[in-house]
């Protein structure tokens, strides 16, 4: 299965997220933290040049609350 890198987006599971903040450290261009440490993920598909960082951000979450999902 070959999907274009542009066809992915990040999705936070807001119930699972415990504000560890590791995702934002891995992917600062796409994820910022609110004042309480919870991630704010940029809307829209992730560009091909950033997909590697997005994957690292998802992998870094200690509670698996960040997922890289196909758009749509």
């Amino acid at each position: 299965m070959s999907l274009k890198a542009s066809a992915f987006r990040l999705r936070v599971d807001p119930i699972g997220c415990q504000a560890h903040g590791l995702c934002a450290a891995e992917f600062p261009d796409g994820i910022t933290l609110d004042e309480w440490g919870y991630p704010i993920v940029a809307d829209g598909p992730i560009g091909a040049d950033q997909i590697r960082r997005a994957k690292r951000a998802a992998s870094a979450c200690p509670v698996l609350a960040l997922r890289l999902l196909p758009v749509g």
Binding site: R11, V12, D13, P14, I15, C17, A19, D34, E35, W36, G37, Y38, I40, L69
Partner: protein, 365 residues
């Protein structure tokens, strides 16, 4: 304009349609979800498979500003059950569930009038427990709080089965449509709840009636600020909302006329404290965001002008980031209070008092 609907003498008449015909009815009559979100019923039906579904009628009516569903069930239960039965048959439902807040008068009515083959599910009488994914979560896990799943209930709901969840009024409309008794959207009968400082009334009216007409029918106070759309609705000046047709407005058709002595910003501060108190406490925006903006709003009422900037910064950060719409609703309410501030309204000591809207919010559990 009183809260009575024509009762049908055709109880038990077999009105049988298949799934395609059900979707057609919903499309042709433009039947929308009536729990506040206004999602087209036809789209929910189209997402369901031909059999093995679960049908849930959401009879919780957890919003303390609304009594329309209780009125439908109290005044025309046969019409409501007929709509539920119609959907359950068309979708070949394996379970048909009437979900209701435990210990309410609606539960008593359902237990004494519902057809035996419909299951009555008494859920904890908590505001957030009546949200659609919370009902599914309660049935599946026993936890009465929103699940925030990526998967929609129409794909995988109760026991993993595709599940249709709709509001009482939606099923009433479906029954009326099947009998050829449902008017076009503008002429359609609907029920709105109007609350004033001393009474709450349910008004039957046409969807194209203006808000002002409905408010007058309730013969309520002449207050100028109206809370529209539910406890997490928005404030409107009466002159601004009065000329709009009720049927075109988002959210629940409920209107709280604020007494002249109360201040909408002061009310909002108190309401936010209660809205925050009843959150499921699962996500950051509710755990930290709602208490923060509730405190900010109270500070604004008490004359701290810097609280305005904090609210302007925090509101857009909190909206849309919870597992359910609870924080987003709270932000909408808060934002409408800030619009009143923007018009030049400044609070004095007497704004920090209870009023009709904050008393309703106090009842949230």
């Amino acid at each position: 304009m009183t809260a009575t609907l024509a009762s049908s003498d055709s109880v038990g008449m077999p009105l049988l349609v298949n799934r395609t015909q059900l979707a057609e009815l919903a499309t042709r009559h433009r039947i929308l979800g009536r729990g506040g979100a206004g999602f087209p019923l036809a789209r929910k039906i189209s997402a369901l498979p031909k059999r093995g579904t679960v049908v849930i009628a959401n009879c919780c009516e957890g919003d303390p500003t609304s009594r329309k569903d209780a009125t439908y069930i109290g005044n025309s239960p046969e019409l409501f059950y007929s709509g539920v039965g119609l959907a359950a048959h068309a979708l070949r439902a394996r379970r048909t569930i009437l979900a209701v807040h435990a210990g309410t008068t609606i539960e008593t009515t359902l237990r004494s009038t519902a057809p035996a083959w419909m299951e009555i599910l008494a859920v904890p009488a908590l505001y957030v427990a009546s949200e659609a994914t919370a009902l599914v979560n309660y049935l599946n896990t026993g936890l009465a709080r929103p699940a925030g799943s990526i998967t929609l209930p129409t794909t995988a709901g109760v026991d993993g089965a595709p599940t249709l969840i709709s509001n009482v009024e939606t099923f009433v409309h479906l029954a009326q449509a099947a009998r050829g008794e449902l008017d076009t959207p503008g002429r359609r009968q609907m029920l709105s709840t109007v609350t004033t400082s001393n009474r709450r009334q349910v008004i039957a009216h046409r969807a194209d009636s203006t808000v002002e007409r409905v408010l007058r029918a309730a013969a309520g106070d002449e207050g100028e600020w109206i809370l529209a759309g539910g406890i997490t609705g928005r404030w409107f000046h009466r002159a601004e909302i009065g000329s709009l047709p009720v049927g075109t407005l988002p959210g629940l058709p409920s209107y709280v006329i604020l007494d002249r002595d109360s201040c909408p910003i002061g009310q909002t501060a108190r309401m936010l404290a209660d809205i925050s108190r009843v959150s499921a406490g699962q996500c950051g925006p509710c755990i930290f965001g709602l208490p923060a903006i509730s405190t900010d709003m109270r500070d604004l009422v008490r004359g701290d002008s810097r609280a305005y900037a904090r609210l302007r910064r925090r509101l857009p950060v909190i909206a849309g980031r919870g597992a359910c719409a609870h924080p987003t609703g709270a932000v909408g309410l808060a934002a409408s209070a800030l619009e009143i501030y923007d018009r030049g309204h400044r609070c004095s000591a007497r704004c920090d008092t209870a009023g009709v809207a904050s008393r309703l919010a106090r009842r949230l559990r």
